[in-house]
Structure formats: structure tokens, C-alpha cells
């Protein structure tokens, strides 16, 4: 072989060898890309609580914390949270006992508990309220994952911490802080969808490499059985007790601002070369306590429904009222019924309920006459004691209705006067109704407390809390043809009180 031919051969060999080597490497790098649509969803994104204990003695329900070392004040702790008090080494809860937060007094360093401490607390220990969460990780492969390849998820763990003791961890920076694995096992970390889940890992379950304090938590699923094609949506679930969210980092953290962690998701080939990868973020943040105090109260509304051609209590054509008056106006015709209505609405959160009574100041006296007694003293329907002229309270029928007994009132000419009936709008708080007992217009008198010695009558009541229960109070009046002319009036009083 000539020298020139030998050199040519060597050059060709070097060229081919270099090409082969580089193409193998560069081709893989060119294929590696970001997993599309990668996301991590935490069912509970609230940060865990961790504070340094300052004082807490057996028998006391008060614990004091210190914010020294960058640990939290009590702003991120709420009534109902469950607290575990650890020793300095964070070896579980002292006395294997947890406590419930009763209240957070002002000042930021005091916690009151619903039950007294069973043990003295370690003043070098911690008060922790663990927040755990199930995770849902979703992504779509770009390139295929071959048989023998794998899916690898890496979750940051706090440096130099006990990363699987169910006690939340934290450090001074995001790069060294992370999640606690709690008691998660392989069956809690599974591929739930995508490329036949049972072909991932051991029947969809992960192999768990718990972080050491210098390494992070790693979950691995070897691919077996079949290739997982590109563009396949994969879902990974972390269930069971869930991952323990970290406490806020102890340096540079602003309460209310999330600490953001990256979760690394990778697909690999059989040679552990990364095919695709992505680093979706999770952002645990402090919860916000929303609180309000509701006072016990009673609310009462007197309203005036529209007048005119309306139907309330089964009768039509109503005189328009206001919330403070029933202006009958000028009676155009005698022996004719006129109607008016008001609405009453009650709300109360008092456990014993409420009642509304109705009474009148007197019967409708001419020019404010005093109408002594409950009925006219004369033979007519309008002359009371001492010749005082009034529009009387109706007696409804020959059976005589009163302020406490209702009867059907249908004949205007025979039974003149003023009366009322009730109908429900919301709830069933009225004690009687216009159409009860198959009556046309079941009515009562207004209780004449002052001049008649009658007792105010209950027109609404309920034995428990109610929200906007309401009724119509329907008034009805008719005068005889010989009722003396004049200006007649009285006052109907509604009194709403809570039941004692």
C-alpha cells in the first residue's frame, strides 16, 4: 500500500469514527426535549407550620413560641389546627400526643390549646402543624420511552433533615428546603394513566429512593412490556398519607408569599440517558383565616305590597298602603268590603325563635274618639259609651269572631267593621289563614288592648331561627249605610320580640 493510500485510509477511518461517535451523542441530544403540558397539582397547598417552642408546661393549655432562628410567629396557625410538639431532634410528638389549637391570642407568640399539656415541652423543640397533600402529576411524552427505559420523578428534600418522619422540614433557603416523604409506600405512588399503567414499574407502582439529606426523593418506574409512544398523556398520583408540605423557609420568607419548588420529571432510555424532561413548579403558601362574628339578632320588616288589582288573601282590588299607614281614604260605598294589605318579614338567629303580635290603640274613633269597651253600647253599629262614634271591630258572623277566635266574614251589610286575616308568603309562621277550614275569608278582630282590655294576638311565630319568613296581613273594612260622616282612625301595632 502506498503512503498516500495509507493516509487516505486513516483519514477516512478517523472521519467515519468521529462521525459515528458524534452522531450518536448529538442525535440523542437533539431528540431530548421538554415534556409538554407538565404540571403538578397539590390537593392542599397550605404550608406546614413549624415554630420553635419557648415555653409549655404539663397541665397548662398555653404554649409560647419564639420567632428566633427565623421560625414562624402564630399568624399561620388557626383554631382547629392539630399541633405536635417535638423534641430538639424531631423524634415524633412528645408523649405521642397531639393537641388542637383553641385560639391564637394577639401578640404572635402564644397558642392556647383545647386541652392541657400532658408533658412538659422541650424548649429546644418545635411546634408543628403538619399539612399533607396528595399530588397529581401530568405530562405528555414527546419521544417514545423504550422497553427498559424509565420514568423518574425527583422531589426536593430538605438538606440534612429527616426526610421521611412525617414532620415538616424547612431550611434557610429554597434550594436546600423541601418535602417530607412521610410514610408513603410504593402503592401510594402510581402511574394512573398513560401507556398501560401496569407496564410502568411494579404493576404501576414506583420504586422509592428516599432522600438522604444530601440527595432528593426519587421515584422511578422502569418501562416493561411495551414501548410507550410519544405524545402520550401520562398521569402520576401520589395518594395515601400524601407528601408533607414544607414549612416556610426560615430566611427571606414573606408571609403570604409562596415558596416555589421545582419537581423534576424525566423519561430515560435503557442507558439512563434522558429522553425528555420538565420541571413543573409547586408553590405552597400560607393559608388565610377568614373569620366573622355573627351577633344574635332579630330583624323585622313592615312592607307595603302594590295596591290596585292585586290578589292577597284571596281578595282583589286593594288600597295602596305604606309601611306606616293603611289609608282607607273616603269610603265610596257603604256595605262594601275594602281591602288593604301589608307584609311582615322576620329573620332571627335566636335559637328560641320569635313572635310578632298585633294590637290596636283603640277601635277607629271619629276624630280620635275614645271607643270604650269592645263593642258599641247602642243599638246601632257605631255608637259607643258616652255617645262616642266609632267604626267598630267586626264580629264577622252571627257566631262572633274576636281578637282570638276567627270566623268566616263574607257579608258586608250585616257585619260591618274592621278586621284582618293572614296569608303566608314564605314559611308557615302565621297561626291562621284567610282560607282555613274551607272558609272564604277567615278573619279576626285586632286586639283592643287599651280600651277593650284584650290581649295582643300572635300573628307570626316560630320556635327556632328563621330567615326572611314573611306573611301578608290583610285588612278588610266595611261601614253601614248610616255610619256618621267624619274622619276615623286608629293605630295597629306590630310588636316583634325574640322568644324568651
Amino acid at each position: 500500500m502506498h503512503k498516500r493510500e495509507l493516509m487516505l485510509f486513516v483519514l477516512v477511518f478517523i472521519f467515519i469514527a468521529t462521525f459515528a461517535t458524534l452522531s450518536a451523542r448529538l442525535t440523542r441530544k437533539a431528540n431530548a426535549s421538554s415534556l409538554t403540558g407538565a404540571s403538578v397539582t397539590l390537593a392542599n397547598s397550605r404550608m406546614s407550620y413549624k415554630a420553635a417552642v419557648s415555653a409549655g408546661s404539663s397541665g397548662s393549655s398555653v404554649v409560647t413560641i419564639t420567632t428566633g432562628g427565623g421560625y414562624e410567629n402564630t399568624n399561620h396557625l388557626f383554631p382547629g389546627d392539630v399541633l405536635c410538639f417535638t423534641d430538639a431532634g424531631q423524634n415524633g410528638c412528645i408523649g405521642n400526643t397531639t393537641y388542637t389549637v383553641a385560639g391564637i391570642p394577639a401578640g404572635g407568640v402564644t397558642i392556647t390549646l383545647t386541652s392541657p399539656l400532658a408533658n412538659n415541652l422541650d424548649t429546644s423543640g418545635y411546634a408543628v402543624a403538619t399539612q399533607s397533600s396528595g399530588w397529581t402529576l401530568a405530562f405528555t411524552t414527546v419521544a417514545q420511552v423504550p422497553i427498559g427505559g424509565s420514568l423518574v420523578i425527583t422531589v426536593p428534600m430538605a438538606d440534612s433533615a429527616k426526610g421521611a418522619n412525617a414532620i415538616p422540614d424547612t431550611t434557610g433557603s429554597l434550594s436546600t428546603s423541601g418535602f417530607d416523604l412521610s410514610t408513603l409506600g410504593p402503592s401510594n405512588i402510581i402511574v394512573s394513566a398513560g401507556c398501560t399503567p401496569t407496564s410502568w414499574g411494579t404493576s404501576d407502582m414506583a420504586t422509592i429512593a428516599t432522600g438522604s439529606g444530601t440527595t432528593d426523593h426519587v421515584f422511578t418506574w422502569a418501562r416493561a412490556g411495551s414501548i410507550c409512544a410519544g405524545s402520550t398523556a401520562i398521569t402520576v398520583l401520589i395518594g395515601g398519607p400524601g407528601m408533607v408540605n414544607p414549612a416556610p423557609i426560615t430566611s427571606g420568607h414573606t408571609q403570604g408569599t409562596a415558596d416555589v419548588y421545582g419537581i423534576t420529571i424525566q423519561t430515560k432510555d435503557g442507558g439512563s440517558n434522558v429522553i425528555d424532561s420538565s420541571v413543573p413548579r409547586v408553590a405552597p403558601v400560607e393559608a388565610v383565616l377568614i373569620s366573622a362574628t355573627v351577633d344574635e339578632t332579630l330583624s323585622f320588616v313592615v312592607g307595603s305590597p302594590p295596591g290596585g288589582a292585586q290578589t292577597y288573601c284571596g281578595a282583589q282590588t286593594y288600597i295602596a298602603t305604606t309601611a306606616t299607614s293603611v289609608p282607607w281614604g273616603h269610603f265610596v260605598a257603604a256595605n262594601t268590603f275594602y281591602y288593604a294589605a301589608q307584609t311582615l318579614t322576620v329573620s332571627t338567629n335566636a335559637i328560641s325563635g320569635y313572635s310578632v303580635t298585633i294590637e290596636e290603640s283603640d277601635q277607629m274613633g271619629k276624630n280620635g274618639n275614645t271607643c270604650t269597651g269592645t263593642a258599641p253600647s247602642g243599638t246601632d253599629d257605631y255608637t259607643f259609651t258616652s255617645g262616642k262614634i266609632c267604626i267598630r271591630d267586626t264580629v264577622c258572623t252571627a257566631s262572633v269572631c274576636s281578637e282570638s277566635i276567627a270566623y268566616d266574614w263574607v257579608t258586608a251589610a250585616s257585619f260591618p267593621g274592621l278586621g284582618y286575616s293572614l296569608a303566608s308568603i314564605s314559611g308557615t309562621d302565621a297561626p291562621f289563614f284567610y282560607n282555613e277550614k274551607n272558609r272564604t275569608w277567615s278573619a279576626k278582630q285586632l286586639a283592643d288592648k287599651t280600651q277593650g282590655g284584650e290581649t295582643a294576638n300572635i300573628i307570626m311565630s316560630n320556635s327556632g331561627p328563621v330567615s326572611a319568613n314573611s306573611i301578608y296581613v290583610c285588612y278588610k273594612i266595611t261601614i253601614p249605610g248610616n255610619q256618621p260622616s267624619g274622619y276615623y282612625y286608629n293605630i295597629a301595632k306590630y310588636t316583634a320580640t325574640a322568644t324568651f
Binding site: 320588616v301 312592607g303 274622619y487 293605630i491 324568651f500
Partner: protein, 311 residues
């Protein structure tokens, strides 16, 4: 041409905004609210045990969500109207006058605008020689109406009240005594009829109290159901029908379940205000499926009749 089109668009826009504002001002305005007298009072009940001669101040907050009103504060004694906790105000001058020295508050009319509120501060001072017993009052906020409308009318006057229950006691420990006036249920029931209890508790002591307790229902086959009593005030010398409570909901004292069978032992037990000796009473009820037996007998009789007719 283009300019003209733009101008028209602008004009149309102005019209739309104007129409929207016009409609909104009429349709969505608070006119409904403006026609109402709407008052709220808090707290609706005040319970007080106090030594004669001592003073206690209570603030009643009156809120107005309706038309502007002028309100006058009054205090009336009350007596129980029935066994459901309703009060009957005693408004005659003599009864009211007997307690004028007990209360100090501003009786002058107060104007409260829409969404406004007013705090009525009531200083309660039972005189040193007041008899050691219970006194019951209602603080009333009464709306003042315009007089003389000039036409025949019935004025409607709204009043809202808060009850004040006062026990006067020199040692702060007034004698409280309860009795079970009635604890009953049907002795024999059909399995489908349900088991409803009537609980009537009386107060024979010197101070009002609340019964704190339950009805425990044991079924002969072992199941136990508990109905909690509603802690309602029972006033001195009176009695009160007690309902049951489930969470925050007031319910009738009724054994839940669609089919009851066997012997049910029901035990009413309660203490006065949650402390002291328990007061108890037991009753028994037999539940039997009478309706099913009756149905079977009917079917059997009809079957026999049909067989007779066809044979």
C-alpha cells in the same frame, strides 16, 4: 361616508349607555327598600343575675335598613303568654311606673336614617330593697308615625323588642328547682307511625333556668338513640314545652326511623343549667306492625272469600 358612520356609532353608543343608566336607575334602584320599615335589634335577649343595688349596663343596637324613622325606647314588664316562650307585654302605666327606678336610658326620640344604627344604653339597677326573685322585661324600640293623615286610616306602627330576664340574688346563687310536668309518648304504636315525645318542664324555683339534657331511647334489641333537648328558658312559676335540637336545627322530639318494632325504653334526663343533680323520668312504648298484620288478615279474608265463591 366613513366619518358619518363613525359618528352614528358614537351616537348609538351614547344612547345605549344613557338607556342603561336610565333603566338601572328605575329598575334596580332601592325603591323596595325605601318603602319598608326595617329594623333589627341585637341582642334579642339578655339574661342577668344581679345583686340588688348593683348596676349593669346593656347596649341594644338598633339598625335601620328601611325608610328613615324616628324611634322611641321604652321598657315594659312582661308575663309568659303560653308554654312556647311568648311574652305578653304589660303596658299599663301603673305596672310600668313600678319599675321606673330600675332602668336608666334616654327616652327622647331618636332619628335613624336608612342603613343607620343607634346604640341604646340601658343601665339596669335593681333597688337595694328589691325582693330576691325574677323580673322580666322587654326593651321596645317603637317607631313614631306621622299623626293625622287627614283621611280615614289605620296607622301601622312597628315595634321591635328585646327581652331582659333578671334574677336578683344577694349571694349570686338563686334557688333553682325543676320538675317534669309531662314526659309522654304513646304507649302502643304502629311500627310505621313514629314515636313522638311531649316534654313539659316546670319551674318551681326562684329563678329562671335552662334544662340541659336528652332523651335516651333504648330499643329491646340493643340500638340506642339520643335526642338532645333544646336549652330553652323556663321562667319562674311557669312551664315550657321543650323541643329537641340537632346541631343548630330545632326539631320535634321524635324517634327517627321508618320501622319501629319491639319495646322502647325512653329516658328523659336533664340538669338545671348543665349542673347539679340529674332529673329523670322513664316511659315505655311498644311498637308493633299492626298495619301489616291488618293487611295480611284482609288479604287472607279476601282470598278465602274468593276460594269459597269459586269452589
Amino acid at each position: 361616508m366613513v366619518k358619518n358612520s363613525k359618528f352614528k356609532t358614537k351616537i348609538a353608543g351614547v344612547y345605549i349607555v344613557f338607556a342603561y343608566l336610565l333603566i338601572r336607575s328605575f329598575v334596580y334602584s332601592g325603591s323596595a327598600r325605601a318603602q319598608e320599615v326595617s329594623l333589627s335589634i341585637a341582642p334579642p335577649i339578655t339574661e342577668l343575675t344581679i345583686q340588688p343595688g348593683r348596676a349593669f349596663s346593656q347596649t341594644f343596637t338598633l339598625k335601620n335598613d328601611g325608610i328613615p324613622v324616628t324611634v322611641v325606647a321604652k321598657i315594659f314588664p312582661f308575663v309568659p303568654l303560653d308554654r312556647q316562650g311568648h311574652a305578653e307585654l304589660i303596658e299599663d302605666a301603673a305596672s310600668v311606673g313600678a319599675f321606673t327606678g330600675w332602668f336608666t336610658f334616654d327616652p327622647t326620640p331618636v332619628s335613624i336614617g336608612t342603613t343607620g344604627s343607634h346604640n341604646f344604653i340601658v343601665k339596669i339597677t335593681p333597688p337595694p330593697r328589691a325582693e330576691e326573685k325574677d323580673y322580666y322585661f322587654t326593651f321596645i324600640a317603637e317607631v313614631q308615625n306621622d299623626n293625622n293623615l287627614g283621611v280615614n286610616n289605620s296607622q301601622a306602627q312597628a315595634r321591635i323588642g328585646a327581652n331582659i330576664l333578671i334574677s336578683t340574688s344577694k349571694d349570686g346563687n338563686p334557688g333553682k328547682k325543676a320538675s317534669i310536668i309531662e314526659f309522654s309518648a304513646a304507649k302502643i304504636i304502629d311500627s310505621f307511625s313514629g314515636l313522638t315525645y311531649k316534654v313539659l318542664i316546670g319551674n318551681s324555683g326562684a329563678s329562671f333556668f335552662k334544662p340541659v339534657g336528652k332523651i335516651t331511647i333504648d330499643q329491646i334489641f340493643g340500638s340506642t338513640t339520643v335526642l338532645n333537648l333544646t336549652p330553652l328558658n323556663i321562667l319562674v312559676g311557669g312551664s315550657r314545652q321543650i323541643s329537641c335540637v340537632q346541631g343548630e336545627e330545632i326539631i320535634s322530639c321524635k324517634l327517627p326511623g321508618k320501622f319501629l318494632i319491639g319495646i322502647y325504653r325512653s329516658n328523659l334526663s336533664f340538669t338545671i343549667d348543665g349542673s347539679g343533680a340529674s332529673i329523670e323520668k322513664q316511659i315505655y312504648t311498644i311498637a308493633f306492625p299492626f298495619s301489616i298484620v291488618l293487611g295480611l288478615i284482609t288479604i287472607f279474608v279476601i282470598y278465602r272469600m274468593i276460594r269459597k265463591l269459586t269452589s
